[in-house]
Amino acid sequence: MSTTLQQPTGADEAVEIAKKRASEGKRAERKLGMLLCAPAVVFMLAVTAYPILYAVYLSFFRADLRLPGQNEFVGFSNYVTVLTSPIWWTAFGLTMFITVISAFLELVFGMMLAVVMHRTLVGRGLVRTSALVPYAIVTVVAAFSWRFAWTQDIGWLAGDAAPLTDRWSSIWIIILAEVWKTVPFMALLLMAGLALVPEDLLKAASMDGATAWQRFWKVTVPLIKPSILVALLFRTLDAFRVFDNIFVLTGGSNDTSSVSMVAYNNLIRGLNLGIGSTMAVLIFLTIAVIAMVFVKLFGAAAPGQGEHR
């Protein structure tokens, strides 16, 4: 202010001041932005980053709550124990199997549901509303519903059979429960993609003689590829964490434990924090690898699409 009064003709000076004020404004904005984010960031780091680092640390110790006196550094021996254990590998294989099959089925049924919600001529609101029901239901509740449905004598699906006492029929019921619950979420993500496909493009393809099937595969799918990949990534990482359904449906009996079940049992029943932490670290690394593979796919998908257009 005072400088402007001293040199009323100094236009440069005025610009300087304006710049200074602008940069002060920028600085204030930066400060405010960081300040507003700080609590959330601190919270998230304190409850995730710190424990996972602590888990890495614990995984190198014999931290057994039943033997508190023997908490000594054991190097990689916990990793050797876990990675040579058939229980771990059975659970790992099963978790992978459930993840791949349910992500695939969810994509197929999710796409069908998305198309129905997007295109139906009758009762669109009704369909969209009721499709949210599985999403709204607590996973444990849905799991109990399936479990009782397949309980001998009680269930309407069971009759005299007891499918939850057999390994493979249990696995398929677990997959069914997973798929039932998450198809709507998948469908919503895909529907958001479908809404972005220009109607004119589909019409033009139709005039050129493309059948509905061709229009879907040649026009719609390439255009919504990003939505498909995002939805698949979300669901793959989510399916790998499968726990609730297995806990309620089989409790892990007949070799139906997922990696999360094994880690949980090890902690709660075994009270072995060293081994439990080792499993925690291994699960974390697996998730990171899956996510990286998807990110690679993303990277490859974008330029590829550019070439085709």
Binding site: L121, V141, S145, I154, W180, A192, Y264, L267, I287
Partner: protein, 279 residues
């Protein structure tokens, strides 16, 4: 355009498809409701629909102290976690949607990472940490992880909503002589409320749904939530699950959420897709 060219046959076809969707969505729900209304005499009849509905299971479950306590825990823990997550999430989302500052991208990436984080990887270390600082088996011990996993969802959904708000209106109101507080209360708050409300529903459902933390970080009914308590219900014999009671508990924690979701269907769809697609 397609509505105009719809033939009755096409309409009937779509109606049939709609019916399949309805059956898919409602069959497990109708089954558990029906099961919860069965009495001891009809429990083993294997019928999908109940023939002689009774409220026995419901009176039994509300007489069960563990269940009532778990219901209070569930409501209390989820409401507090939702409130705090929304408060912190709104601040962060406002900054992300409107301000330029260093580390913004890192924060967005970090919340994406956390939303995909395997919760089981936290259970073992959190168990140890919470036991050490004395918050194991308390409300706080569950509220903290709930807030953490709700925050990414809140930040994503809210920042997507906040980007849509016409913020120029705030300036316009100030030019018309409104104080900053008035501009916020009369112009911005009403525009932001639907987004905040929708996010609150999504966050609450996410907390309400949790099972893994609830079962690992509690050991008595002092903090155990309903999903965890349900897996501990015991019947007359220890090996048998009290089927009708579990079904009744399931219905009690499900129906309010379902009604809520059906009522706010449009907003929830908008919230779920906006948050996820931008990610």
């Amino acid at each position: 355009m397609s509505a105009a060219t719809a033939t009755p046959a096409k309409k009937a076809g779509w109606a049939a498809v709609d019916l399949v969707v309805l059956l898919y969505a409602f069959i497990p729900v109708i089954w558990i409701v029906s099961l919860s209304l069965k009495g001891d005499d009809t429990l083993n009849d294997g019928n999908f629909l109940v023939r002689k509905p009774t409220g026995e299971a419901y009176s039994e479950i509300f007489a069960n102290e563990d269940f009532v306590r778990a219901l209070i825990n569930s409501i209390g823990i989820c409401v507090i976690a939702t409130f705090v997550a929304l408060l912190l999430g709104t601040m962060a989302a406002y900054a992300i949607a409107r301000l330029e500052f260093p580390g913004k991208r890192t924060i967005v990436a970090m919340s994406l990472l956390i939303s995909m984080f395997p919760q089981i990887a936290l259970v073992t270390p959190l168990f140890k940490i919470e036991t050490a600082i004395g918050i194991f088996d308390t409300w706080l011990g569950l509220i903290l992880p709930y807030i953490t996993f709700a925050l990414p969802l809140a930040i994503y959904t809210l920042s997507a909503f906040f980007r849509e708000i016409p913020w120029e209106l705030e300036k316009a109101a100030k030019m018309d002589g409104a104080t900053p507080y008035q501009a916020f209360r009369k112009v911005i708050a009403p525009l932001a409320m639907p987004g905040v409300f929708t996010t609150a529903i999504l966050v609450f459902i996410a907390c309400w749904n949790d099972f893994l933390f609830a079962i690992s970080l509690t050991s008595t009914n002092s903090a155990r939530t309903v999903p965890a308590a349900m897996s501990y219900f015991t019947g007359a014999t220890t090996f048998e699950k009290p089927v009708a009671a579990v079904a009744a508990a399931a219905v009690i924690i499900t129906i309010p959420i379902v009604i809520f979701v059906l009522f706010f269907q449009r907003r929830i769809v908008a919230g779920l897709t906006s948050g996820a697609v931008k990610g």
